[in-house]
Amino acid sequence: MDKMTYCNDLMARLEELFFHELSDCAGWKTEFIGVDFIQSKNIEGTNCEEVIRSCLKEIIAAGLAEDVSFAVAGKDILLCLKIKGCIHMGKETRLKERGIKVYNCIIANMIHDQLIEKLGYETAYIADIDVDEAAGQCILKCAIYETAEKIGCVSDWSEECRWIDENNKWITLTA
């Protein structure tokens, strides 16, 4: 067993236990996991895209993921992420095997933290994590709220995702 597998197995057990204690609100309690890494970096940017790019550069440079694409849509609330080659994929796979809906993405936590800390975003929330272990990729839908007034600005995210794909709005950073 390599060190990363060992580490992911430990984390999977922790998240499994956490889910068992808290059920579907477990993910609401894990948003600080990963922030120590990103807060140790000099993340810069004056808008959402710049901050996300800056985060992803550090994440990829550290080898935490190989290839990350992002897009913002849905009245600037929907942040879509496609994360390939994440070193925590083993954790997500373990959880999925055990019938637990994956709820904690460390990379999304890092991005949310910096949107809040650097740009003063009101709040952010990981709404959905779709793990495709065959493709070695996770696809996330996150809600990012620049201000409290953005709460309640709704749209159809399946339509928004289609729009992102059809208009090739993905911004991709690779190792």
Binding site: C25, W28, K29, T30, E31, F32, G74, I77, L78, I116, E122, T123, A124, Y125, A127, D128, K141, A143, Y145, A148, I151, G152, C153, V154, S155, D156, W157, S158, E160
Partner: protein, 220 residues
């Protein structure tokens, strides 16, 4: 001993209050009820903060609104919230209810409740049951308030996420270290503006209870 099933079964969550003040003696009684909740090894880890100040309640209400609204906006955008309320057949009413939820207004009512009781637990006395003890105390608060003719609602929204829990602690000057206190909820209390004799439908016991072993519904 009196059977309190009528008190228990007639209680419902009240989110709309009139502005009449709640007498101090009633709050004292409610807190006394909380103090008598069951607690593992009698640790009594609960602490309560009674908030009447309007400005503080506004801050709590805003935090709760953002907390609930941020999640429910996303659930609506993904279609989950609509499924939850598809039982409401009137489309106008359904749209109104959905907007009430995803806007976060559903959790904003600390602003209108004359009293808010924050329920927190110390993590430093050795108790191994903090969230469970606190939950029992919240239930006692709700039942005592109801028995006094008051309405109340248990609200997890503003402390549901770790980041929001810190914001909540800062509003009330609670130490923010994870090792010190855990806030599990606040309870809004006041005189009800809405009246419903009995709460929402409950799942029948036959669907909830097994006998002797999991899955065995037969009493014999």
């Amino acid at each position: 001993m009196a059977d309190i099933l009528e008190v228990i079964s007639s209680r419902k969550s009240i989110r709309r209050f009139n502005s009449d003040p709640v007498p101090e003696e009633m709050i004292d009684k409610i807190l006394e009820a909380a103090r008598w909740a069951p607690t593992g090894e009698n640790y009594q880890p609960w602490r309560f903060i009674v908030v009447r100040d309007q400005e503080t309640r506004n801050k709590i209400g805003d935090l709760a609104k953002v907390g609930s609204g941020s999640r429910m906006t996303a659930w609506y955008c993904m279609g989950h919230l609509q499924k939850r309320f598809e039982g409401i057949k009137d489309p106008v009413k359904r749209a109104r209810v959905l907007r009430f939820m995803y806007s976060g207004e559903v959790s904003e009512f600390a602003k209108a409740a004359p009293v808010v009781i924050a329920v927190l637990g110390t993590l430093t006395v050795g108790s191994v049951d903090v969230p469970y003890d606190l939950s029992a105390a919240v239930e006692n608060i709700l039942l005592e308030a109801h028995s006094l003719g008051l309405g109340g609602c248990w609200v997890h929204g503003p402390v549901a996420s770790s980041r929001d829990a810190i914001k909540f602690k800062k509003i009330l000057d609670i130490p923010t270290e994870m090792s010190a206190y855990k806030v599990i909820a606040y309870v809004a209390i006041g005189w009800a503006l809405e009246q419903r004799k009995y709460p929402r439908p409950k799942i029948p016991l036959e669907e909830l209870v097994y006998y002797e072993k999991f899955g065995k519904k037969d009493k014999q």
